[in-house]
């Protein structure tokens, strides 16, 4: 196996991880600030992808499509927060799990009702399509590089937002002591809506970015949702830094495991069964990783609360 292939796979893992981070960031923020567990986060990812596909189909502009995905997911998030989610903050996790499970049903089948059962079309814009040659002669799709860059920029922006801005201070204060910041006169319900919409917008953007190279279809958010949960559990729920580290860890483990495990088993098994055993184990790998992390650190890598 050549070095070039290994580097390319690491880039792939990185790109996957960065997209997972966009999903996980919203989840972990919402949990950290409001103490809410939101299973319907994957639906917001889907909303973003569908909005982008609809706008791209109508206008032909990818940039407009991305803006639409941010706007639609943020709007959907804000509406859901105002109508449903804010009634759940004081409830236990069980009610939250159930209510957001119900939201998944509504979002998924509602989208199918609106857009039909067939996947929608969304493509990579011309100026980002095709491969570029990286130093060392590595051919790599430009769009995936762009995804890595966008994801890292957003991660940096998020860290800046939380560390340096007034909203960030309020968010951090909210994570430490919810009653206290209300007492200090911060409009807590507005803050909550804002955080939820921000998380939703990030998920929507991830959906649109990924939708351009994957299939825009109902239910696309659920596999990603479960991975995002794995990410925030590994990273420690409520920690943005944990989400970033967890996302990269999961992205790299999943990508590299899928490539190298079958090779590894080929060393001592027949090729056909090595492929099959390796592929099976690779699909379980991130869950094994998660169990292992939790055994050593029950609150995740950077977690401080339950």
């Amino acid at each position: 196996m050549s070095l070039i292939l290994i580097i390319e796979q690491i880039l792939n893992g990185l790109q996957f991880g960065v997209m997972l981070f966009l999903m996980a960031a919203g989840l972990t923020l919402v949990f950290g600030v409001m103490g809410l567990i939101n299973l319907a986060h994957g639906s917001l990812y889907m909303v973003g992808a569908f909005a982008a596909a609809a706008v791209a189909g109508a206008t032909g502009s990818f940039v407009l499509a991305l803006i639409a995905s941010l706007a639609a997911a943020a709007a959907a998030g804000a509406i859901v927060e105002l109508v449903v989610i804010r009634r759940l903050y004081a409830r236990d996790h069980l009610d939250q799990v159930l209510a957001t499970f119900a939201l998944i049903l509504i979002f998924s089948e509602g989208t199918r009702w609106l857009f039909g059962s067939f996947p929608l079309f969304l493509e990579v814009p011309r100026y980002l399509s095709g491969p570029v040659t990286l130093p060392g002669g590595i051919q790599y799709p430009l769009y995936r590089l762009a995804m890595i860059v966008i994801g890292l920029l957003i991660a940096a922006g998020l860290f800046w937002l939380i560390a340096r801005t007034r909203i960030g201070i309020q968010i951090r204060a909210g994570e430490c002591d919810r009653e206290m910041i209300a007492a200090l006169g911060v409009d807590i319900s507005k803050l909550y809506t804002l955080v939820f919409a921000l998380g939703a917008a990030l998920a929507g953007l991830a959906g649109a970015l990924v939708g351009a190279i994957q299939s825009v279809q109902v239910g696309m958010g659920e596999p990603v949702l479960i991975l995002a949960f794995v990410v925030i559990v590994i990273g420690g729920i409520g920690s943005i830094k944990g989400a970033l580290v967890g996302a990269l860890l999961v992205g790299l483990t999943d990508t590299l495991g899928g490539v190298f495990l079958p090779r590894f088993f080929e060393l001592f098994l027949a090729p056909a069964s090595a492929t099959s055993v390796g592929a099976s184990l690779a699909s379980m790998l991130i869950y094994i990783l998660m169990a292992a992390v939790l055994l050593v650190r029950p609150l995740g890598l950077y977690g401080g609360r339950t």
């Binding site: 196996m1 050549s2 070039i4 292939l5 390319e8 796979q9 792939n12 790109q15 996957f16 998924s108 089948e109 199918r112 039909g116 059962s117 067939f118 996947p119 929608l120 079309f121 493509e123 990579v124 399509s129 095709g130 491969p131 051919q139 799709p141 769009y143 995936r144 990924v210 351009a212 190279i213 994957q214 299939s215 825009v216 279809q217 109902v218 239910g219 696309m220 596999p223 990508t255 899928g258 490539v259 079958p262 090729p271 056909a272 492929t275 099959s276 592929a279 099976s280 690779a282 699909s283």
Partner: protein, 378 residues
């Protein structure tokens, strides 16, 4: 209890009353909600088009959604057989649902005509006199792809499929016909949507061509990413990833790709021309492979009903076996195991105006029967 969505074709009470004795009741279980609903909708629409066209008032079709859940399918089938007393069943899209429903349905004396799934077990050892497959045995299209790979002069093909039984069958089917070398053989995760890692492997493998079986959203994702990766090898696959329903979602990325199918919109026979036109008129979209299979299934039933009453099981079975109907795919007959013997074509994805669709460029396999027929003692 649940109000049953019955599509009674009788136009008047009189007709119902007079036809009551000769009533044929068909139960259709197919996927109409959740993931994969597009396929079920197409089978249903194709099937109902043929039934409606026949304008017979003695046929009743009961349609139920299986949600792509095996347990729902099994229970619905039990109800159709036990409570509604259907004579014929059809509609199931997925092999795992077919395996759950068909053996017990035919054992209870019902005829089952498969409009899509063709698991190998039901073609071989577990074949049954009341079970007919009107589409294909699962391996067929992959075998044709293997044969095409030989014709096209591929010598070092990279093959991949999801890691589940149908995926394993697909690669087995391809290898059964393919004579060249394999650059590599890869199983991906079921439901996987990112193929960056596999594309890198393809690029590094030195392959001269790619064969893949990735149904539904997996195929859309793969093709989009393939087109964007700069890998420029010829691709071949079964029709499932290039069908009318999903081609528009793949878009330009699919242009020029070869795929194997027993049917195509441009097949030049009278039945097909009429079907394509009537389907578009009725539903406002181009028919898909699945719609053609639903349409053929209904026409097969209608042709047998012309010859025999469904209550005379032996006569009706014999009439089905003759397959005396104008299939939209051209020549069609059944082998000893009640699976099709048919031509499988190679299609190429083209653009007609604004619409992506397929045209036939070659014949992959002629008069092809499946590999399991000899295991069937019938």
């Amino acid at each position: 209890m649940k109000p049953i969505r019955t599509l009674a074709l009788a136009t008047s009470v009189m007709a119902l009353a007079t036809a009551a004795l000769a009533d044929t009741k068909i139960g259709m279980i197919t996927t109409l909600s959740g993931g994969g609903a597009g396929l079920g909708v197409d089978v249903r629409d194709g099937f109902m088009l043929a039934i409606d066209n026949a304008e017979r008032d003695d046929i009743e079709v009961v349609i139920e959604d299986d949600q792509r859940k095996p347990d729902v399918a099994v229970q619905t089938s039990d109800r159709m057989i036990q409570s509604e007393k259907v004579d014929i069943m059809t509609g199931i899209i997925w092999s795992n649902l077919a395996m759950a429903v068909i053996p017990s349905a035919v054992a209870q004396g019902v005829f089952y005509l498969s409009p899509n799934a063709g698991p190998s077990a039901l073609a071989g050892e577990r074949c049954h006199e009341n079970y007919f497959n009107v589409a294909w045995q699962n391996d067929n299209l992959h075998e044709a792809a293997g044969a095409y790979a030989n014709d096209a002069g591929f010598e070092n093909t990279f093959i991949l499929a999801p890691n589940y039984p149908a995926g394993q069958d697909a690669l087995t089917g391809f290898k059964r016909m393919y004579e060249g070398e394999l650059a590599d053989e890869i199983y991906t995760k079921l439901g996987q949507t990112d193929y960056a890692a596999e594309l890198a492997q393809i690029r590094a493998s030195g392959a001269d061509s790619v064969f893949f079986f990735l149904p539904g959203g997996m195929g859309i994702s793969f093709l989009k990413q393939y087109a964007d990766s700069g890998v420029d090898l010829p691709v071949v696959g079964p029709a499932f990833s290039f069908d009318q329903g999903i081609l528009q979602a793949v878009g330009e990325a699919a242009l020029g790709v070869k795929n194997t199918s027993q049917w195509s919109k441009d097949l030049d026979n009278a039945a097909n021309v009429a079907f394509v036109e009537a389907f578009q008129e009725e539903y406002g979209r181009l028919p898909s492979l699945y719609a053609s299979q639903g349409y053929d299934t209904a026409n097969l039933i209608l042709s047998a009903l012309e010859k025999a009453d469904v209550s005379d099981k032996d006569a009706f079975r014999a009439a089905l076996r003759e397959a005396d109907f104008d299939s939209v795919r051209g020549d069609f007959r059944f082998g000893n195991n009640h699976h099709p013997i048919q031509d499988i074509y190679v299609r190429e994805v083209i653009k007609e105006g604004d619409v992506y669709t397929n045209k036939i460029v070659a014949t992959g396999l002629e008069d092809h029967a499946d590999a399991y027929a000899s295991e069937c003692k019938m």
